[in-house]
Amino acid sequence: MNISLLDALSRPAIGRGFRLQWEEVQNAHVLLYPEGMIKLNGSAGEILKRCNGETTIADITADLERAFGAASLSEDVMRFVVMAVDKKWLRICP
């Protein structure tokens, strides 16, 4: 995946071999992958749970801004998505 191809209209989805789920006992979203687990902080969980392969990064950002009454999250979201694609937590759907 060439990260430079990422833009606001890209549609991210959870990466192959990864699974996102809410863990009540840990009170957190976790990202599960072969023989490992990442416990996510609140904002990472909120972003990842919106990455369904159909919603664009722009729409994900708008939804987060609405849900949390925040403005101008686009830079934060994009930075997180770039990092997550690099770590293969996310892939970009064609």
Partner: protein, 395 residues
């Protein structure tokens, strides 16, 4: 089969109340078509005849999941030897586990893999013993290499990431380049080069399996060069052999901190090798619930915190990082599980490790199966288990 099961979550600080058993390892059976000389299963495994039945395993899954267990290892022995693997995976999936099948691949055909995929199996880790048919078959005392290559293709076909695990030791560590070439040819996404850890059968065969320092260093160089050459298309993990280190591994993140193993007969263990530890009565899931076992049993509480530690661990600032290393290794090498893991160069027993490493400096045996002056390897088999190890073996 031997495997390493890391959980890549941050190491939690020790707390009075233990956290949940995030990692559940079910050793479904000790039966295995392979006879690997480096297996960590107990040498007296053949005494275990009464395996848990399907309903027991399903109950273990439900109770552990309710406590917060989320990563599930299905191992053994060879888990495919159980014909109820599919319903076990199905229940694990329904409960929200991430299920990892840790297999030699023997018994994995199209019909079973199709059923496992449908049941929701998340991941397969396939073991290879070496890159060549001759060594693979020798080291596992079987003829399985061609079959494993077929299984590797099948795993790709069902769209699983291809994760290969190769246990390294004196007799195959010089083949790291060939092993990695083979992995690349098979289309592996991840390769774990796991240096043998010396428990069970591997402990019995330690003198024949421990590589020389030069072998380890060469393997590491080869692996680094390979990593640079192939880039990210195939990720390589090199599990460093702890005998060559100066600090111990943070084994299991401390016993009773995140790992729970259930052995084929239902014995609950804080680590798959812990059954050897003397003086601890490990509970059985046939007679106790997982919650009670995890939080209340004396054997699970015994090595929590640091009250059990002796010097030099007790006053060591690094005790919160490595928890004094591995209790089983401390016991096997020093006869006392509460001692520092002798891998640590602060341990008064560190010489036991350096002496073993020094003995490994003898010239490598290149063709042990063709006859050599070395003591022969004892392969893991029910027959050897019964005749050579009639009672529980410690040191």
């Amino acid at each position: 089969m031997a495997a390493n099961l890391p959980v890549n979550s941050p190491i939690p600080a020790p707390t009075p109340k233990p956290g949940p058993p995030l990692w559940l390892l079910l050793e479904l059976t000790y039966r295995c078509p392979l006879h690997c000389a480096f297996c960590y299963n107990p040498t007296d495994f053949a005494r275990t005849t009464e395996e848990l039945d399907t309903d027991d395993w399903l109950r273990v899954l439900r109770e552990a999941r309710a406590l917060g267990a989320v990563q599930l290892g299905l191992s053994g022995g060879e888990p495919l030897s159980r014909d109820d693997l599919e319903p076990i995976v199905e229940e694990a999936h329904r409960l929200g586990f991430y299920s990892n099948l840790i297999t030699s691949g023997v018994g994995l055909n199209d019909a079973r893999l199709s059923a496992l995929k449908k049941a929701g199996l998340d991941h397969i880790q396939l073991s290879f013993q070496d890159s060549t048919q001759q060594m693979n078959d020798f080291l596992s005392s079987t003829r399985t290499f061609d079959l494993k290559s077929t299984v590797a293709a099948l795993i790709k076909q069902y769209d699983y990431p291809m994760v290969l695990n190769v246990v390294l030791h004196r007799l195959n560590i010089d083949h790291v380049e060939e092993i990695l070439e083979m992995a690349l040819r098979l289309g592996a996404d991840y390769v774990e080069l796991a240096n043998t850890q010396y428990y069970g059968w591997a402990w019995h065969n330690r003198e024949q399996l421990l590589p020389s320092r030069e072998q380890v260093q060469r393997a590491e160089r080869v692996m680094q060069d390979f990593r640079e050459r192939v880039g990210r298309q195939m990720q390589i993990y090199f599990v460093v052999p702890d005998y060559f280190e100066r600090r111990p591994k943070p084994c299991m993140n401390g016993l009773g901190s995140i790992f729970l193993t259930v052995a084929p007969d239902g014995t609950a263990l804080p680590c798959h090798a812990a059954r050897m530890l003397p003086g601890l009565e490990f509970p059985n899931v046939r007679s106790a619930g997982i919650k009670e076992i995890w939080y209340d049993s004396a054997s699970f509480n015994h090595f929590r915190g640091d009250a059990w530690m002796k010097e030099p661990c007790r006053s060591c600032p690094e005790k919160t990082r490595d928890f004094g290393g591995c209790r089983c290794q401390a016991y096997l090498l020093t006869g006392d599980a509460a001692n520092a893991d002798p891998v640590c160069d602060l341990s008064p027993h560190h010489h036991l490790v350096t002496e073993a490493v020094a003995r490994a400096e003898r010239p490598a045996a290149h063709a042990p199966h063709l006859g050599s002056e070395e003591k022969p390897l004892v392969f893991r088999s029910a027959r050897n288990s019964t005749t050579l190890f009639p009672k529980q073996q410690g040191n």
